[in-house]
Amino acid sequence: MKPNLRGPAPLAGLVGLVASSLLLAGCGAGDDREDDDGDGGGAADPGVTAESVTVGAHFPLTGVAAPGYNEIPTGAKAYFDFVNAAGGVHGRQIEYVVKDDGYNPTNTSKVTNELVLQDEIFAMVGGLGTPTHSAVVDFLNDEGVPDFFVSSGSLQWGDAVEDRPYTFGWQPDYEIEGKVIGQYVAENMPDAKVGLFLQDDDFGDDAEKGVRQFVDDQVVAAERYTSGNTDVGPQIAALQAAGADLVLSFNTPSYTALSQLVALKLGYTPQWYYSNVGSDPALVGSLLSEFSEGAVPGSESSLDGVLTSEYIPGVDAPDDPWVQLWQQVWDEHGEKGELTNYRIYGMSHAYAFVQALQEAGEDLTRDGLVEAMEEVGQDLDGPQLAPYRYSGDSHLGISGLRLVELQGGVGEPLTPVLTTDIGDVEITEDESGQADDAPPESGIPE
């Protein structure tokens, strides 16, 4: 065997080179590492300059969760562009960076690292999803990045302020939605046999907690499905077998369509309640015809007679002054496509974020933004039908909603706006009058 003479020499050279450079680096460092930490103080927070503030978000832009949800950031972007065109907030243009996580927590972690460490965002705004956002919520709080208006109704975005001081929820949490529908059922349908159809995570768990406060003895079955498993036949059949004539469902839009199809096949016709998350008539209609390969004609009327809830005005109320503003924003700054409820959702939390920026003042800091929201959050007006609950003790968002019945894609109110909080806080009629307010003339919070 011939020794390969050319092998070791360059290698030895490289070793020497690398080792010596390492030594040099080492000498420079010394070992008093406590001495020179701290970054001087007084430096501006990342993502903020006199001219701009950069914010970011993670959304499922591709993959199974993309339909509907990928429209949310397009709505938020349209509203931020609208504000930018009018001069921005305190002279700063809002730069909005959206990254795709495909609704996979590993990817959420990746893109959040990218947003925080590479793009140096000032704040996260509207990051979507319970399992996905749980993967990054601790990281964001460790880094001190404001994590505003998570697009999910899980309690964990606001019930433990000490653990996550930088995280704020936005939409009504699933527990209060469960409480409101639970009380409605107890008062108006005391003889109904209640079946629960639940997503098997915080979404279903929090909602069940709320519902059972009022109708625990009426519940005849509680069935859970795993997001990703598209066969819900056994669950629906079990609800039918238990004799449930009212099904309260807390699921995502795809599962509304799936459960409707299975029920159709089984000849099961209970009264359905679908939580706000799963009841967008336009999306469910199109999913219905897609899943059934056209056998079930999907339209906005597919969910006629179904009960659900509302906490912001949607496309079914074109005369609402807020919806008229959103339509104007979308016409001026939107991409292709129509205004949808998902885009309105994005615009609505973008509106809330612009309010937060205004309240934080001209000297924008991360901690200042959080303090401002804790201080004035409850008094902010906006498209939401009920006030926010933000305070030093709670970062939970909108405090209430109203129940509606869908007819032709339009929600007919069944109750006034009802507000409450988690735990055994009473449900009361909202007296803030927020449901009847209109946006400011300029369309930008004042």
């Binding site: 020794p3 003479l5 390492l22 460092a29 397009t74 319970t130 399992p131 995570d201």
Partner: protein, 389 residues
């Protein structure tokens, strides 16, 4: 000098250790010189590289295809997550990693024993079942394993001596991302040294013999089943270590991180880089880590909307995959090796060329990767024909 050279060519272990030492220094320098975000990306590259390294040993050396390595990573990740539930968890990281490897090893033995009786598509099918079933376990035992939302992983802060040592070596504070990346790359280096040694040893020769010609291997006294099981187990152990590193990096073990896509991604890394070569596995892992982000960034710079830019990455990724298969069927590492051989052959006097392997035939790599290039698809069918009925 001559003595050193002789030692260099005669002692595989020494050579591998030296390469590892150089690699370690390079890793330290690189990690010290890049941003925190790049460190996270490098950590991702490392855990993909570890798993792909294990897979390439299984597929390239032993000829078995596994679609279940993502599931094996899940076992490693969940083991790590169970041992590191909160800040008070005091299990040393080395123990965590070893436990992850051990848990995966046990599963690897069980699957390997079943797999030893299976070939080609049947084995792929069996491991596919693993990939589909394992995430379901986390959903079934929701109380213990966190269901859909998974388990948080809290990495304990590095100890004072580690911090001091890191500061002395690199001249800067050890950040969280630096720590994770360092752990992942250390693990990668250790894994690769072990895998490289193993594949150069008697065990590795047996694996290759079984891959190339079962009948001949059996005639030579090799226990086919044992060779297959051992290859699977070694490769599973690597996946376990990779899973632990993924858990450290992502700070979460959730079922949706370990779908079939991950298993296919690993296979893609192996094919992209070059089947059977550890260097290739690392190149493939690097491509998988950096390509999507770069492409999405380019798409956005070109004025595409966020959604269009996000959709661009899988498209380009598919195109790259097809191109690699068409233009460089031996993978990127294989192609590079071919080029180097051709250049060397040109520089070598003509009478030596005859000794050297023909440039077009990918000869065994002189360093880490003793694998002949293309998988020999003809081998198994010809042996079947030759077997008496």
């Amino acid at each position: 000098m001559r003595a050193v050279a002789r030692l260099w060519s005669s002692s595989t272990l020494l050579r591998h250790l030296l390469v590892a030492a150089v690699a370690l220094v390079v890793v330290l320098l690189v990690l010290g010189g890049v941003s925190d975000f790049r460190r996270f990306q490098l950590a991702e590259m490392a855990y993909l590289g570890i798993a792909a390294g294990g897979l390439t040993v299984l597929t390239g050396l032993n000829g078995q295809i596994s679609l279940g390595h993502g599931a094996l990573m899940a076992i490693g990740a969940y083991t790590a997550a169970l041992l590191l539930p909160d800040r008070d968890a005091s299990v040393p990281l080395l123990v965590v990693v070893l436990a992850s490897v051990l848990a995966t090893l046990v599963v690897g033995v069980l699957v390997g024993v079943a797999a030893a009786r299976l070939h080609g598509p049947y084995l792929a099918g069996a491991t596919l079942a693993l990939a589909v079933a394992v995430p379901g376990i986390a959903l079934t035992f929701k109380e213990r394993l966190g269901g859909e939302q998974g388990l948080r992983v809290v990495l304990p802060d590095p100890s004072e001596p580690v911090l001091d040592a890191a500061y002395f070596l690199t001249g800067q504070e050890l950040t969280n991302s630096g720590y994770v990346a360092l752990l992942a790359w250390l693990t990668l280096i250790v894994t690769y040294v072990l895998l490289a040694n193993l594949s150069r040893s008697r065990v590795g020769r047996r694996w290759r013999a079984v891959r190339d010609d079962e009948v001949a291997a059996e005639l030579a006294g090799i226990d086919l089943g044992r060779a297959r099981v051992s290859a699977f187990v070694v490769s599973a152990a690597a996946a376990g270590a990779a899973g632990a590193m993924l858990a450290f990096t992502v700070r979460l073990a959730a079922p949706s991180s370990f779908t079939l896509t991950l298993s296919l991604t690993l296979l893609a890394a192996v094919v992209l880089g070059g089947l059977g070569s550890l260097g290739g596995a690392l190149v493939g892992a690097g491509l998988l880590t950096f390509l999507p982000q770069v492409i999405t960034g380019l798409g956005r710079d070109a004025g595409l909307s966020d959604i269009r830019a996000a959709e661009l990455a899988p498209l380009i990724y598919g195109v790259v995959m097809v191109l690699v298969v068409l233009v460089a069927p031996l993978g990127l590492a294989g192609a590079l090796r071919g080029v180097l051989h051709r250049r060397r052959a040109r520089r070598t006097p003509p009478d030596l060329v005859r000794d050297a392997s023909p440039a077009t035939d990918p000869a065994p790599d002189p360093e880490l990767d003793p694998v002949p290039g293309p998988p020999r698809s003809g081998a198994s069918s010809s042996t079947t024909k030759g077997t008496p009925a």
